[in-house]
């Protein structure tokens, strides 16, 4: 009996030591490179979708540094490697810099001017602010105009209720999410909810389940629920440009399915993968797309969403203080 008791006691004490240690890479240039490459290799969700040969990228970039390479140069090598992913959701953060890929909007026309929307023709100086929403009546009071610049800026149902009450005599509403780089998916769903009569399937989401590049879970439905208290019944136009990214991309995807809605402007910037964070042995943080999101037809939204009506700001209009995309939306609402 004593023997068995001793064995049991030793087993209980020694058992914790038996579980495999997670392998931490050494804090050297090589160790950090391997850690970063491995995180993307196993957890980034678009390697196959974007036809990226990540093994080849490892071969190419491991030759660009040694363990004695200075920290700034090494950071640039790592940043360049991440740039191959062509993803605005991928960043490497250090205490001295943040790598980024911005070509998803810098290679395209801006199609937005803050000075234009703040001119007397549109928001003017006397616009109202409710939470993160800036709003005013435009086009002689016929159209309600809301500029929402970040899905990180909060607003409440009460805010939106007042906004909709203010616009109750308007023929239509414009929600301008140009240059909105995203934020919270909760605000995306909340803002869309005012334009739905019924709960509607608007997309899907999956997540990585293994180290393989296409190891994904079954799709999970994303539904946009109709707001129970506040509802806009007339036409609504959503204005987009290439800087409409991430949570804004998600909002546009939802609004594509809303009754009486139309998307006007440029293709959105994308950012369909929900980003996660991880860490390298040297303390640098890596952000990367982890969970791909799809539209209601299971099409990927990573590269952006096409508008229903494509338009851009004309130079001649801009010179006259006219935002061509807003004017196009007004015309479509009044049609």
């Amino acid at each position: 009996m004593k023997k068995y008791s001793l064995i049991l006691l030793l087993t209980v004490i020694l058992l914790p030591a038996c579980m495999d240690e997670p392998g931490e890479k050494p804090n050297t240039n090589k160790g950090n490179f391997e850690a970063l490459w491995s995180i993307i290799d196993t957890r980034y969700c678009y390697l196959d979708y974007k036809h990226i040969n990540w093994d080849s990228i490892h071969t190419v970039y491991k030759q660009r540094f040694t363990d004695s390479t200075k920290v700034f140069t090494f950071f640039d090598v790592m940043g360049s490697m991440l740039g191959e992913l062509k993803d605005g959701h991928v960043n490497l953060y250090s205490d001295f810099d943040r790598s980024r890929y911005w070509k998803w909007y810098t290679d395209y026309p801006s199609n937005f001017s803050s000075s234009l929307i703040h001119s007397n023709r549109y928001l003017s100086d006397n616009y109202r602010i409710a939470g993160g929403l800036r709003y005013a009546k435009i086009d002689n009071g016929d159209i309600g105009y809301i500029y929402y610049g970040s899905f990180s800026d909060s607003f409440s149902d009460t805010n939106m209720s007042y906004v909709i009450t203010y616009f109750k005599d308007c023929k239509g509403l414009i929600i301008d999410v140009r240059d909105n780089g995203g934020g919270s998916l909760d605000y995306s769903e909340q803002l869309a909810s005012y334009f739905f009569v019924n709960d509607t399937l608007t997309g899907y989401m999956r997540h990585k389940t293994g180290d393989g590049h296409s190891d994904f879970s079954d799709p999970v439905e994303i539904k946009t629920t109709a707001n129970k208290t506040t509802h806009w019944k007339n036409s609504v136009a959503v204005l987009t440009n290439r800087m409409s990214f991430s949570a804004t991309n998600d909002f546009v995807n939802r609004m594509k399915m809303a009754p009486n809605s139309i998307i006007v402007g440029d293709k959105t910037g994308g950012g369909g993968g929900m980003p996660f964070s991880s860490e390298l042995p040297n303390g640098w943080m890596i952000r990367f797309s982890a969970s791909p999101m799809y539209n209601s037809n299971m099409q990927d939204t990573e590269w952006g969403i096409e508008p229903d009506v494509k338009d851009s700001i004309k130079v001649a209009d801009q010179a006259k203080g006219i935002d061509s995309i807003i004017e196009r939306a007004i015309a479509l609402i009044k049609k």
Binding site: L9, M19, M205, V220, M274, A290
Partner: protein, 282 residues
């Protein structure tokens, strides 16, 4: 007259006997111990970061133990309530992890008494474990929850060490989880997907020694002073668990100080305090 005096004396004697019988009425005492601790902690949570974080923590623990009944002093019931918080850093001290934890367990022990001054307690404790780890700089995965319920094997050794003027009580307590259930999200599953979209697939897992192993050991000495008994102790807690290809680790080493005392509780019609106990309710 003599007969009356005899009857009166008999009455007094029987009254005295009755009073003595009342004095021998047994009451259960509950041993309450409260301790405060300062610990070093090491946390590994690959959902938040593949890097282990180390730091310091604070702990409060309350232990309550009493026998089941006055007739049975071989089986005791015990409950423990623990609160913990900690702040840990990655090795390069560029990020911090905040930890908050709460644990409540309840169970029973059988008391073996091989010889005077030694008690061996063997039993089981069911616990509910809640923890929250936060790396605030993370995006979409800044927080991970530890939610678990376990059946723990528990053993306690209590040994009285008589000194010239006092008796020190040495206690060694060991606990280890045997089986239970735990919440572990998938490595790539966001809390948005779990709680907003309601996808709980593969988030709750049966746990046993194949995927959850741990040891929680406390060595303590109770030192009696004139009006109080102080407890000085040392606790080592290591817990490893794995699921969804993730291995989580929690290790803390804690110095404890606290006090222990016995209380008797009276409540209700069937358990009223004796008359020589004075309550503010009376």
């Amino acid at each position: 007259m003599k007969r009356n005096i005899f009857l009166f004396q008999l009455f007094l004697f029987s009254s005295l006997l009755f009073a003595q019988t009342n004095d021998e009425q047994k009451y259960l005492l509950t041993t309450e111990t409260s301790t405060y601790g300062l610990s070093t902690i090491k946390l590994t949570d690959p959902y938040l970061s593949p890097i282990s974080y180390s730091g310091i923590g604070l702990r409060y623990e309350n232990e309550s133990r009493r026998f089941l009944s006055t007739q049975n002093t071989n089986i005791s019931k015990q409950s423990n309530f623990k609160l913990m918080c900690g702040l840990a850093f990655n090795p390069t001290i560029t990020a911090s992890m905040t930890y908050m934890g709460m644990n409540y367990d309840w169970g029973m022990h059988y008391h073996f008494r091989p010889f005077t001054g030694l008690q061996l307690l063997v039993g089981g404790l069911c616990d509910v474990d809640f923890g929250l780890k936060d790396i605030s700089r993370n995006v979409n995965n800044p927080i991970n929850l530890d939610l678990a319920t376990n059946l723990n094997l528990s053993g306690v050794v209590i040994y009285d060490i008589p000194l010239s003027r006092k008796v020190l009580q040495l206690q060694i307590a060991l606990q280890s989880p045997i089986l239970g259930y735990m919440f572990v999200p998938g490595e790539g599953t966001s809390y948005y997907e779990i709680f907003e979209l309601g996808n709980f697939t593969n988030t709750t897992h049966f746990s046993s020694l194949h995927n959850k192993r741990g040891i929680n050991g406390t060595f303590s000495v109770d030192v009696p002073f004139k009006y109080s008994i102080w407890r000085f102790g040392f606790n080592y807690h290591e817990l490893d668990y794995s699921s969804n290809n993730l291995i989580f680790k929690r290790k803390d080493v804690c110095l404890l100080i606290g006090s222990t005392f016995d209380i008797a509780t009276f409540a209700g019609r069937g358990n009223r305090a004796p008359r020589n106990f004075i309550s503010t309710k009376e």
